[in-house]
């Protein structure tokens, strides 16, 4: 197999796997029973899904600037995703374990 073929196979594999993680995350978001577990499924899925897609795209980009951009997107997404996960989990942790309703008015 030539280098081009190997990189193609790698891209197809990693991008497909990443897409599947997005599917898993969505299913988790829809099917899991409470907000904290849904948060768990979501953060795992989108970090891994985006990471695998970025990994798969790297061989398809030729410029170093393109690599930096792709990796920066992933690192920033990791940072933001982890922080938001912490923040939401913190906001969701009242004493009785029920998610607070912020809707105001008719809930």
């Amino acid at each position: 197999m030539s280098a081009v073929e190997i990189s193609t196979v790698f891209t197809v594999f990693a991008v497909s796997l990443g897409s599947l993680f997005f599917l898993a995350g969505t299913l988790g978001l829809l099917r899991l029973p409470d907000t904290l577990t849904r948060l768990h499924a979501l953060t795992k899925a989108d970090n891994l899904g985006l990471g695998l897609i970025v990994l798969g795209l790297l061989p398809q980009v030729s410029s170093p600037l393109g690599w930096i951009g792709l990796i920066a997107v992933w690192l920033l997404a990791l940072l933001a995703g982890a922080t938001v996960g912490q923040l939401l989990a913190g906001a969701l942790r009242p004493s009785d374990g029920t998610p607070p309703d912020r809707g105001g008015g008719s809930a």
């Binding site: 193609t8 891209t11 197809v12 991008v15 497909s16 990443g18 897409s19 997005f22 599917l23 995350g25 969505t26 978001l29 829809l30 907000t35 849904r38 948060l39 979501l42 899925a45 989108d46 899904g49 985006l50 897609i53 970025v54 795209l57 398809q60 980009v61 600037l65 393109g66 951009g69 792709l70 920066a72 997107v73 920033l76 997404a77 933001a80 995703g81 922080t83 938001v84 923040l87 939401l88 913190g90 906001a91 969701l92 942790r93 009242p94 004493s95 998610p99 607070p100 309703d101 912020r102 809707g103």
Partner: protein
Amino acid sequence: MTEFLLSAAAFVLATVALGLIRILRGPSDADRLLAAQLLGTGGVAALLLLGVATAESAIGDLALVLTLLAAFASVGFVTGTVRPDATRSPGEAPAARAADRPEPAGEETRR
């Protein structure tokens, strides 16, 4: 390859769009926000795929901006309400704030 990347972008987009059902069902506002968060990450992934497939670097920049600002809705959510029981993590009492940032009361204000 281009075809594959484009269909992967469409697949990811369709998947996270499905997650928006959470916006309809709730039950809590945090759940709705999670759906929006997933839409943001999925949108970034789809844009990266689209950007590489079309070799347009500007779409990568758009993905970067979306990533930078994706957290803002959640930040607005977490900081928006005063619910001492819910919004603050343990160990950070309301009094901590006054200690953190002493307010120079009345100085230079009334004119």
